[in-house]
């Protein structure tokens, strides 16, 4: 682990480089020589005990320096890696010219949630995985920091009060229902509203934003940002109905017939959490990551002074899983006052599906990783409260269908870890509600809605996308599906 650098130190480094670049005509060789600008962040020892955002965002100088690393490849391979096709070299070119407004407007032609994507997209697996600079330096982590630049201009626009929202086309009189206000739903709402159709977004929770509000913690994605994006949609004329559970408050069929909606998009997101079905899983103190995070994020239980929803007090917390949600759970546990937080994962760091940056942050903050271990049972006291977990040690064997080496248990290696809370972050099954209450809606055997290449479901006038189709995925993949669905829906509505 390298030493933590403050924003001031990083700014000073950037300023030195900038002094050598400013006003110069740069060759590609000059650009290759510019080091990637590090993201300023709160000091690990401090941030592990507060809910404020960890990553602080580039300074203006850092953004200018980082943008100069882009060589503007004519083939723009980075674009291919973006599920919503952000014109990446084009927006970076604007930053190179010092035109931040031009940069953000360019991003917004295809992505209305850049402040969010700049924070939570796994860029190293998407745009930055295709970046020529990264390829040359043999690591997508060393690519042009596209995500950080995207965040910089989005934050710049908000901080300087320069937000402009697209003006929708003249009203068409057609009505669309969007079910769920997560990333897929918000993308669909924006794209359809732009075409002049009326859009109502139905949200089961009291707040809009879906997983961005209940799942992703404040320290990674401030809730005020999500609220701002929703406010921008409202300014475009999108209507939001919270505490409305489609399937129960009204069925999809009622919306499409009695309530006169011409089309609908289902973006209901993640469903019921997966459990391991091992002994002791229903002990007090065993939580799904969904519950643990929802209590803390949506219900604000971390704010003990104001929130009515309680958080379970635990000193030794173990999180099970290796994805982003596991990292969120572990880091939340630290911030809630746990003295010891373990992350138990049955493979190794190299196989973890979480974003590299999140894993690094968790390490820096003091999460204790137990790789190549898996639980066999939870142990409770006489009151049914969790006191420990029995783990079994694994080793990596031959690669499996996913190409990752398969973890194999080593018999006789059972050992007990003393814990008083467990957070299970092994993904979700699908939410059964829409399928249960909508006749003719085809789903897979896992309950995910089946769609065609245009996100159309088995029911006329109904499209679907995001986690309810994909299973557990990412914000940007959900947005990509929303984008595709909206295009198809707009085409359908235009021809109607």
């Amino acid at each position: 682990m390298s030493e933590h650098k403050t924003t001031e130190m990083l700014q000073e480094e950037a300023a030195k480089i900038w002094a050598g670049l400013e006003g110069k005509t740069l060759t590609n060789k000059d650009r290759f020589a510019i080091p990637q600008q590090e993201m300023p962040s709160q000091e690990p020892g401090v941030r592990a005990h507060n809910m404020s955002e960890v990553a602080l965002g580039y300074t203006e100088t850092q953004a200018r320096v980082e943008a100069e690393r882009c060589i503007q490849c004519p083939t723009a391979p980075c674009k291919k890696g973006c599920p919503v096709g952000v014109p990446i070299p084009e927006f970076i070119k604007h930053i190179q010219q010092g035109d931040f407004k031009g940069a953000i407007d360019t991003i917004k032609t295809t992505n209305l949630l850049p402040a969010i994507c700049g924070r939570v997209c796994p860029q190293e697996k998407q745009c930055q995985d295709h970046c020529t600079i990264g390829k040359m330096l043999k690591s997508p982590e060393k690519a042009v920091a596209i995500g950080r630049l995207e965040r910089y201009v989005a934050d710049w626009e908000r901080a300087n009060d320069k937000i402009t929202v697209p003006t929708p086309k003249p009203e068409t009189g057609k009505k669309v229902a969007v079910i769920g206000s997560g990333p897929a739903g918000l993308t669909v709402a924006a794209d359809i509203r732009r075409e002049g159709h009326s859009v109502t977004v139905f949200e089961a929770f009291q707040k809009t934003g879906g997983v961005m509000v209940y799942g992703i913690p404040e320290f990674r994605l401030p809730k005020a940002l999500v609220a701002k994006e929703v406010e921008n949609l409202k300014r475009m004329g999108v209507e939001f109905k919270t505490s409305f559970l489609v399937g129960r408050t009204a069925t999809l069929d009622q919306l499409l017939t009695e309530q006169g909606f011409d089309a609908a998009f289902i973006g209901t997101g993640a469903g019921l959490p997966k459990f391991m079905h091992i002994e002791g899983e229903n002990l007090i103190g065993v939580f799904s990551a969904n519950e643990y995070l929802t209590r803390s994020n949506l219900m604000k239980a971390y704010d003990r002074e104001h929130a009515d929803t309680p958080m379970y007090d635990a000193k030794r917390v173990a999180v099970f899983g290796g994805g982003n949600v596991a990292m969120d759970g572990a880091r939340t546990a630290l911030r809630l006052g746990a003295e010891k937080v373990y992350c138990v994962y049955r493979r190794t760091r190299a196989e973890m599906p979480a974003r590299i940056e999140e894993v690094a942050h968790a390490f820096e903050e003091g999460v204790d990783f137990h790789f190549l271990e898996n639980p066999t049972k939870f142990i409770g006291d006489d009151k049914g409260r969790l006191v420990g977990v029995e783990l079994l040690t694994y080793e990596l064997g031959e690669p499996d269908e996913s190409g990752r080496r398969k973890p194999v248990a080593i018999p006789g290696t059972e050992h007990v870890l003393d814990i008083d809370a467990a957070v299970i972050a092994l993904g979700n099954d699908s939410n059964p509600l829409m399928a249960q209450t909508t006749e003719g809606l085809n789903t897979t055997k896992w309950g995910n809605i089946i769609v065609d290449e245009n996100q159309k479901t088995s029911i006329p006038r109904v499209w679907a996308g995001g986690d309810i189709v994909l299973g557990a995925a990412t914000v940007i993949l959900a947005m990509g599906e929303g984008r595709r669905a909206a295009a198809s829906m707009n085409e359908y509505l235009a021809g109607k």
Binding site: Q206, L272, P273, F275, T294, R295, T309, P310, Y312
Partner: protein
Amino acid sequence: MHKILEKRQLSYDKERDQSVYYFKVEAPEIARNRKAGQFIIFQLDEDYGERIPLTIADANAEEGWIAIVFQTVGATTRRFSETFNVGDNVPVLVGPLGKPTHIEKKDGIVLCVGGGIGIAPLHPIVEANHKIGNKVVTIIGARTKDLLFFEDEMRAASDELIVVTDDGSYGRKAVVTAPLTEICEKEKVSEIVSIGPAIMMKFCVAAAKPFGVPITTSLNTIMIDGTGMCGCCRVSVGGKTKFVCVDGPEFNGYEVDFDNMMQRMTAFKDKEKEADHKCRIGLDAGKKAGA
């Protein structure tokens, strides 16, 4: 908006300083689609309020309201009863949630058993059975006379009503399982529906077992979202993990692991006590004044 149309105190438990309240609330969409056995979730504050599930006790689709009945057992329910009055709006209300009760024509008696606060959610089930022509025998019970409510409503919707109290201060001195057993011995009972404290439902299941009569129980676990996302409400049913919010709230009583459910319901007991204590001595009165 969910305006409170009527507010009544149904009972007061001196021993525990707890009341049961009836609130009639404007909720046209919920009233229209709700069926017997379903519940709602309410919050007193959008930002900081906790989500409390309550079974719908009554509803009128034409007039666009639902009724909820709750006991002031914690800080939120206490504050709801003390600071919300007719004309105020309930800030957050979502529903109807959960699967409706399966109501069908039966040959024999449908025996409905409600204990304490469980009498409220039992009411729509009694009504629905009565409406389709089932012979409904209802048993309602409480610790003492002051804690009983809905006697008239239940009588109106039942072919026979039996009232019991633990202390004999009203009706017959007995626990609900006594008349349950007697009826099962004498008559043909097709189904038992039991709603009340977990321990009561557990004993009803034990009492029904020798007769092999199917028994449905309605579970009131802790919930957060209540829509099939968080998994907080999970219970073990027939050895499998089930979710009360989307798989329930009603389950075959023979399959429910009541002991585990009762344990899980104590998860936050110390916190609840602390919050209730603060609420009673007015520590958080200022904070929620605007709610």
